[in-house]
């Protein structure tokens, strides 16, 4: 056969919860009311933390902050699908995932005010620190998934990255290694349409990151990233496959970065208000609230109670964060190696003398 088809590719997009709050019953996951309320509560908390952090930043009480506004469903859907023994490999915008996994908010904030005591939490030894160098953490996720496979542990790793990260070589190497070694890893790409000022259309000429899976021989799916049910279903399925040793997957959560890239950025330089508004109409939080209200699960009073409660919680967390004893300058030397070599010892002593004087 001189002209043969050797591969047929198809990529699917999944959506369950529509912007108007209606759902496709045939695809709806089995979630009980408690779960739905937990998802909503998680998303509302993320939003409130995000807003608080931006406020603190303007007051000079917070370092650079990368707002996750708009991506709450993408993060909540993933977090909700995780089990405690699963590993989390975040990029730098996954505070929402951490919040939903129960990492104390004051701890998360500690990192973002510029204090490395907040980088990882001792009670969550399977949550890696923030990864600032774009894309490179995906390989750590692949490696952890390889470890789960090698030891036949029924757990998986979720590795996060953005649409921009999909252009880095490490994205390629991570997906390929994961596939070759059957890593128990689920790659979640939050395609929020922007990498700082560069739109998705300039990252790649293909229209979905999910279709990049065809290069690696692993399942790839696009989900409406503002649809918490779609995210949850897709990730849950992928995690079950992974935990059972049936290989890694790639999930693209198609969403939108509603805020600036970080507090150091001004998105109005490069994108229109209209674009942002068009995505406001697809809000992940509003649509879940519409759904819950329609289900009789939620009303205005509950909404207000939740808001009050969350605000109180966050105030307390900020207080905890700010009342922490200041970081010792000498700590910068202590965690370079298991031991303290002579050069670090000398340097530490000289700094301590300097600080003392």
């Amino acid at each position: 056969m001189p002209r043969t088809t050797i591969y047929e590719a198809q990529t699917i997009r999944l959506q369950i919860l529509m912007p108007d709050g209606s759902v496709d019953r045939s695809l709806m996951p089995t979630v009980d009311d408690g779960q739905i309320l937990a998802l909503y509560r998680g998303m509302a908390t993320m939003r409130a933390v995000d807003e608080k952090a931006l406020k603190l930043q303007r007051q000079g009480r917070m370092g650079t902050w990368a707002p996750l506004r708009g991506q709450e469903a993408a993060q909540a859907g993933v977090a909700h699908a995780l089990e405690p023994e699963d590993w989390i490999v975040p990029a730098f915008r996954e505070m929402g995932v951490l919040i939903m996994r129960g990492v104390p908010i004051h701890h998360i904030m500690t990192y973002w005010v510029g204090d490395s005591r907040g980088a990882v939490h001792p009670d969550f030894p399977r949550i890696l620190p923030t990864a600032v160098p774009v894309g490179s953490q995906l390989l750590h996720g692949a490696g952890i998934g390889m470890a789960m496979e090698l030891r036949d542990e029924p757990h998986a790793a979720v590795a996060f990255a953005g649409d921009g990260a999909s252009s880095e070589g490490d994205f390629h190497e991570a997906l390929n290694f994961a596939a070759v070694f059957k890593a128990r890893t689920v790659f979640v790409i939050q395609n929020n349409q922007w990498a700082i000022s560069v739109p998705f259309s300039k990252q790649t000429v293909v229209s979905s990151i999910a279709q990049k899976a065809h290069a690696y021989g692993l399942p790839g799916i696009q989900v409406d990233g503002n649809d918490v049910f779609a995210v949850y279903v897709a990730v849950k399925e992928a995690l079950e496959q992974a935990r059972a040793g049936r290989g890694p997957s790639l999930i693209e959560a198609f969403t939108y970065r509603m805020g600036d890239h970080t507090t150091a950025d001004d998105a109005s330089r490069y994108r229109t208000k209209e674009e942002v508004e068009s995505w406001e109409a697809k809000s992940p939080i509003a649509r879940l609230r519409l759904f819950m209200t329609a289900q009789g699960l939620w009303d205005q009073a509950q909404e207000e109670n939740l808001r009050t409660e969350v605000e109180g919680l966050i105030e307390e967390e900020v207080r905890l964060m700010e009342s922490r004893a200041p970081l010792e300058p000498g700590s910068m030397f202590q965690h370079m190696y298991a031991d303290l070599p002579w050069n670090l010892k000398e340097q530490m002593e000289s700094l301590q003398a300097e600080v003392a004087s």
């Binding site: 370092g63 600032v132 560069v198 990252q203 910068m332 670090l344 340097q347 700094l351």
Partner: protein, 336 residues
């Protein structure tokens, strides 16, 4: 301070370093249409430090290219562009993000001329903000000049002020060989300086005597020149006359200026932000000893970053070499 070329009626403008960089880019692009810019966010956004602001509007998308987020890709395609006749000026967003491009820089960019027996070469510039002190997030405060200095085939420039930033960048763009251009982000906007409005170049390999002195030499580059100057001022009050040498380019190095000043004063303190061990201060120290051992009145001192990962903002101030630290090292040299 800026020993600028003696044109008859030099029109000057007051610029910051960031503005001076932009001015050089703009004028070199006007001069030579082979000059193109590639990088992340260099287009509409004008670069995260605004060093390419307005250039997209002036020169269009074919000369100011927002690339996919991939540093190896940016540098690697620039190699091809340079071979095919362009003069790419690459922006790497922060020095901490140049690592993915190191294979292209070390295995290809530095070597093309050598490996092709001089038949192909790469006129290209890789700009990158470097250094700490601005409370940036993790990985945003690196100073990794050492790598490039142990890589024959690259040139390395590190301006310390707007005049040099403009002149050195123009020289880098006109250079036939690849130049790593490290911009001191701590002082991107710290001060303005009179800079000629006309294009001009600052010759590579010529250090600048930022302050003349007799008792001691402070050698620095980039953001640390100000720290050295501050230290010199403190020392002056104690009656110590410190010479401050601003290297401007680390490769080529102005060896005569370094050795000459060391011989003259007999006491040297080197200041840089990069970690001390195997930092460029070691090279300077070794070189001085090799050529001026008998004139040295004290060991050459190094005031450098500590041998640690650059710390997070809360304690980064303790990492950064300070005037006080330089003064202390100077005193040690004086009292040796």
């Amino acid at each position: 301070m800026s020993a600028h070329a003696t044109t008859t009626t030099p029109q000057v403008e007051k610029l910051t370093i960031a503005q001076a960089v932009k001015a050089a880019l703009r004028q070199e692009m006007q001069r030579d249409e082979r000059v193109i810019i590639l990088g992340e966010d260099v287009g509409k956004d004008g670069g995260v430090f605004r060093a390419t602001e307005g250039l997209l509007d002036e020169f269009g998308e074919r000369r100011v290219m927002d690339t996919p987020l991939a540093e190896s890709g940016i540098v690697g395609t620039s190699v091809g562009l340079a071979l095919a006749g362009f003069r790419p000026v690459v922006e790497i967003q922060f020095t901490g993000f140049v690592y993915p491009a190191l294979n292209q820089l070390l295995a290809h960019v530095a070597r093309f001329r050598h490996r092709t027996f001089g038949r192909m070469h790469l006129p290209m510039v890789v700009r990158m903000p470097y250094g700490g002190g601005i409370h940036a997030p993790e990985h945003h405060s690196e100073s990794y000049e050492s790598i490039f200095l142990n890589t024959p085939g690259l040139k390395v420039a590190v301006p310390s002020n707007p005049y040099d930033a403009k002149g050195l960048l123009a020289a880098a763009i006109r250079d036939e060989d690849p130049v790593i251009f490290m911009e001191p982000k701590l002082i991107y906007r710290a001060f303005r300086q009179d800079v000629p409005a006309e294009p001009y170049t600052v010759e590579f390999g010529t250090a600048r005597v930022a302050k003349e002195g007799a008792n001691l030499t402070l050698i620095a580059y980039g953001a640390m020149v100000r720290v050295a100057m501050d230290a010199a001022e403190v020392l002056q009050k104690d009656g110590v006359s410190a010479e401050v040498l601003d290297l401007r380019t680390l490769n080529p190095l102005d060896k005569d200026a370094v050795i000459g000043s060391a011989r003259k004063t007999g006491r040297v303190v080197i200041v840089h932000e990069a970690p001390r061990t195997a930092g460029f201060g070691a090279e300077l120290s070794a070189l001085i000893m090799e050529h001026a051992l008998l004139e040295l009145l004290a060991p050459v001192q190094r005031v450098a970053g500590f041998d640690v990962t650059f710390p997070l903002p809360k304690i980064e101030g303790h990492y950064m070499p300070s005037a006080a630290r330089v003064v202390r090292a100077a005193r040690a040299a004086l009292e040796f």
